[in-house]
């Protein structure tokens, strides 16, 4: 199963003003965690803790021991600042429309759009 064949992957970490994507070749069967360690991104950003920061591949959370496929982009995420419940509550209090997950969002968005156009 294990073959010495190398596959290209990327390791990415994003800050609001500066995003880093490191491309590297790893042997087949490399895990998410190994790729992150190999990429040297931990030395560049000491704030990353591979035990605490969640990691994933192309927008999907992945376990640290998941093995990579060619051209995967391993992503290191940062936690949210806001509490989603609080943000939604605040918006509801301000009377702003909610889209997905905001109850009768279709009717609300349709009426506001109509109002904006006229």
């Amino acid at each position: 199963m294990e073959s010495p064949e190398l596959i290209p992957v990327e390791v990415a970490y994003a800050l609001p003003e500066h995003q880093t994507i490191i491309g590297l070749n790893v042997p087949q069967g490399t895990t998410v965690r190994e790729a992150v360690e190999r990429s040297g991104i931990l030395e560049q950003f000491p704030e990353i803790d591979p035990d605490k920061n969640k990691m994933g591949i192309f927008g999907k959370l992945a376990k640290a021991d998941a093995s990579l496929r060619a051209k995967d982009r391993v992503e290191i995420y940062r936690p949210l600042i806001a509490d989603p419940k609080e943000v939604r509550k605040r918006r509801a209090a301000e009377g702003k429309k909610m889209k997905k997950g905001g109850g009768d969002e279709q009717a609300a968005s349709a009426s506001t759009q109509g109002a904006a156009e006229t």
């Binding site: 990415a12 970490y13 994003a14 800050l15 609001p16 995003q19 994507i21 969640k54 994933g56 192309f58 927008g59 999907k60 959370l61 982009r73 992503e75 995420y77 940062r78 936690p79 949210l80 600042i81 806001a82 989603p84 943000v87 939604r88 918006r91 702003k96 909610m98 889209k99 997905k100 997950g101 905001g102």
Partner: protein, 188 residues
């Protein structure tokens, strides 16, 4: 008389075989015009032209179903390049599809992001880094400025920002071109 007929028939057969062989031997897999048009388009995959992406628009242009002036991100540069390639006259950008804007990139307001992944799903070029209940961040270098992520955001936390000018992005300003439309508007 007979020799002439035979000679012409022989030539016809010879050239027919040659053409038949050439069509098999030098077969082109996809329409080369589509590839050339696609190469000119800016690959923002924004859908402002009314097609699903740059490639479908290129196919429509090559098939003569769509006009060449429906790409706002490409603007005049793309229209002129397409006109040049296809041997047609360049024209002004179709007003129906919007106006030419400076290159912008999306930016997430981190105070409000709730990690819903709706913008990730809308992004046609995977330029957003994030996952469920994790901070979403735009990868500036990969963002094409298509604005498709703005509408799905339930908390309106994505805004478009103009790219700051740097030595690597600075360009000579384009010369002002006055078309006959402008002259008509300014005229008496």
């Amino acid at each position: 008389m007979l020799t002439a007929v035979l000679a012409l028939a022989g030539l016809a057969i010879a050239f027919g075989l040659l053409l038949g062989f050439a069509s098999v031997r030098f077969r082109v897999e996809s329409d080369p015009v589509v590839d050339k048009v696609d190469a000119i388009l800016p690959q923002t995959q924004c859908g402002q032209c009314g097609f699903a992406g740059c490639r479908p628009y290129a196919e429509a242009i090559a098939a003569g179903e769509a006009d060449i002036n429906r790409c706002p991100p490409g603007g005049e540069t793309v229209i002129i390049a397409l006109a040049d390639l296809l041997g047609v006259d360049a024209k002004a950008l179709d007003e129906e599809v919007g106006a030419e804007k400076p290159k912008m990139v999306a930016f997430v307001d981190e105070e409000n992001c709730i990690g819903c992944t709706l913008c990730l799903q809308a992004c046609p070029v995977d330029a957003i880094l994030g996952a469920a209940k994790q901070m979403h961040t735009i990868i500036e270098r990969e963002c094409t400025g298509c604005e498709l992520c703005i509408e799905p955001c339930p908390v309106d936390c994505i805004e478009m920002r103009e790219l700051p000018q740097s030595p690597s992005t600075w360009k000579w300003p384009y010369p002002q071109i006055h078309t006959s439309d402008d002259a008509a508007k300014e005229g008496p």
